[in-house]
């Protein structure tokens, strides 16, 4: 087990180095140099240009620049935004809770509906329920989620007026951002109705962001369930006279969940990518919207830093999933 952990830990270093190389080259591949970008449309006189280039360390060889970059990264210095002049890491930290809250609720939605739907579809194979679950999940899997969001806004917010169109909280309330998680902050505040407002702002974005994970989880659970139900030990359990519910919930589901856990872990990347679109539609002040805006504003330090942090996060979560998988299924860690 320790050997497995050590091996898996060592594997993330090449990936991390690769990603820093990618984000490092991002800025160097852009036509024009960073000084001109910083100067913007107005241009800059050559003497000042040289001076700034030197100050930014751009006159040194690429390898030295890369070493400098990676040293800064390890110190937690990801540069400053061209637009707001604030440190990238600090901006990320203030925006990340919003994305985390949204992703978490989306995941709860996906698991809450996807897992039971998959289990029932697997158990009742070939029935109308099975076919409808498969149809709905394939449709969900094919869904352009940015349009799905627009459609839900059109129906629930515009036509029915049930939920707000955008943002995290009604402008009527003013909440101190202690934790950055609106639900928790609103719950702890004295404002009446703030929690309800925060919750109603979360519903549509969570559904939109959770749709693809929901489809994937339902499909995976169903096929995993089908496989497990054919195993000999399930037949033995049935033959022993255990109730069908016990056989399915205790005996079959436990083993069927192993691949599902992996899939849920892998959805973290899907969620963060989906957050880019979902946050843009719902004007959700999170990391995804921030990156889209920075790309449109050509705020390269933010693009660079944002991509670096998000991909490092994904690598880290994948590592966690692998470790968890090794614990759930000891055959993996001994292989």
């Amino acid at each position: 087990m320790i050997q497995f952990l050590a091996k898996r830990f060592l594997q993330i270093f090449p990936a991390f180095i690769g990603i820093t190389l990618l984000t490092f080259s991002l800025v160097h591949l852009i036509p024009g140099d960073p000084v001109e970008l910083l100067a913007g449309e107005r241009g800059i006189d050559p003497a000042r240009h040289e001076q700034m280039k030197k100050a930014m360390g751009l006159d040194k060889p690429l390898a030295v620049q890369y070493l400098q970059y990676i040293t800064n990264v390890f110190k937690g210095d990801l540069g400053k935004s061209f637009v707001t002049k604030k440190p990238v890491l600090k901006e990320f930290m203030t925006l990340f809770p919003a994305t985390l809250e949204l992703s978490f609720c989306a995941m709860i939605f996906a698991v809450l509906f996807g897992l039971p739907a998959g289990v029932i579809a697997g158990v009742k194979r070939g029935t109308v329920f099975d076919h409808s679950v498969m149809t709905v999940s394939l449709t969900g899997y094919s869904m352009p989620i940015f349009w799905w969001g627009l459609l839900l806004i059109l129906f629930f917010s515009v036509n029915l007026g049930w939920t707000p169109v955008s943002g995290r909280l009604s402008a009527l309330y003013w909440i101190d951002a202690d934790t950055g998680f609106m639900l928790i902050d609103a719950f702890r505040s004295d404002e009446q109705g703030a929690f309800k407002s925060a919750l109603s702002h979360l519903i549509l974005p969570s559904i939109v962001l959770g749709t693809i994970p929901l489809a994937v989880i339902a499909r995976m659970t169903r096929s995993s369930m089908l496989e497990v139900l054919q195993e000999d030990y399930v037949r033995t359990a049935r033959a022993k006279g255990l109730s069908p519910a016990r056989v399915i919930m205790i005996h079959a589901l436990r083993n069927a969940l192993i691949p599902v856990i992996t899939v849920i872990g892998l959805q973290v990347g899907v969620l963060l990518a989906g957050a880019i679109l979902t946050e843009t539609i719902f004007a959700w002040p999170g990391v995804g919207k921030w990156i889209v805006e920075s790309i449109n504003r050509r705020d390269y330090p933010v693009v660079q830093g944002g991509i670096l942090i998000i991909s490092s996060l994904i690598i880290f979560v994948n590592l966690l999933v692998d470790i968890l998988y090794g614990i759930v299924n000891p055959r993996i860690s001994r292989a």
């Binding site: 990936a15 991002l26 352009p144 899907v270 679109l277 449109n296 991509i307």
Partner: protein
């Protein structure tokens, strides 16, 4: 002894149907057509291709022509709509149906180019990595792992940020992003095939590495790649639409489905048709490719055959 068997076999009355195995295509169609969804998907794709080819003839209007007198006109079955603009018009008076028909051309074009590019590059990298192995394989596969660690849309956005927003750059970005899937799939099949007897036989008879890789091994690794390529169409169309929606793909006034949705949020209260129809087009096309891909997998994978 041998002759006896031959004579005996000749005497057995068998109809020709049973002795001659069905043509591979015929057999494939038999399994494929058992899956009703896949057939529907295939018909839809065929329809979309026809739309794309004959867009100039089918479309009632030019996708760029702005009818100033008919701005935000609703579809024909609603009050204020007429059959001149069957699905209504957008905020500058362009016919939505015509834009959707021309959009089919763009989306399928994106799919074809992305799949061709990534399939070609993926096969070359995957086959060589699987065949040669060693340090080269490690480098290629680690690189692919890094690319897989990033969400595809984020990586595509990063590439577009470097190259600048346009449909061509979006296509290139998506082709790069989906590359790892093809490389991994090809490599895995090559490794599975590499040690089989027929491969050893052709090596012994003196086949060179190029012939070994692309003439001997590759044809036997195509089935999963065909499936992945079909599913790759849907991913490419979806990603291109997402980039178009974010303003990082096709630029206005191009009638690309995603780009058509980009500014539609502001009309959501007044004109639902501007928001709805482009999305329906994306959803149905992507769904059709996914259905067909699932059917292909069932038909091509012998393990799934019942």
């Amino acid at each position: 002894m041998n002759q006896a068997i031959v004579i005996k076999e000749k005497n057995i009355p068998i109809t020709e149907n049973e002795t001659v195995p069905p043509h591979p295509l015929k057999e494939f169609w038999k399994y494929f057509s058992e899956n009703r969804g896949a057939v529907i998907g295939l018909y839809f794709i065929a329809g979309a291709i026809l739309c794309a080819i004959f867009a100039d003839i089918i479309a009632p209007h030019s996708p760029f022509n702005q009818y100033r007198s008919a701005i935000l006109q609703p579809p024909f079955w609603m009050e204020g709509g007429n059959t001149e603009f069957i699905l209504g018009t957008d905020d500058v008076g362009r016919d939505i149906l015509s834009r959707l028909i021309f959009g089919a051309r763009l989306s399928l074009f994106v799919g074809v180019i992305v799949v061709t590019l990534s399939l070609a590059a993926g096969i070359i990298l995957g086959v060589t990595a699987g065949y040669f192995g060693g340090f080269y394989e490690t480098v290629v596969m680690r690189l692919m792992d890094i690319m897989l660690a990033l969400p595809s849309l984020l990586l595509a956005m990063a590439i577009v940020a470097i190259l600048g927003p346009s449909l061509q750059n979006a296509i290139l970005a998506i082709a790069i992003v989906v590359l790892p899937h093809y490389v991994r799939l090809t490599r895995a099949s090559i490794i599975a095939e590499k040690n089989k007897d027929y491969v050893t036989a052709s090596r012994v008879s003196g086949a060179g590495p190029l012939r070994m890789m692309f003439n001997v091994l590759l044809p036997n690794c195509m089935a999963p790649l065909i499936v992945q390529a079909t599913l790759g169409f849907s991913a490419a169309i979806l990603d291109a639409a997402a980039l178009g929606f974010l303003g990082m793909g096709a630029q206005p006034p191009t009638p690309e489905w995603g780009a058509m949705l980009a500014n539609s949020l502001q009309f959501i209260q007044r004109a639902w048709w501007v928001v709805t129809f482009p999305g329906v087009a994306i959803l149905l096309t992507v769904l059709a490719f996914n259905l067909a891909g699932d059917g292909l997998r069932d038909a091509l994978d012998p393990k799934m055959k019942r």
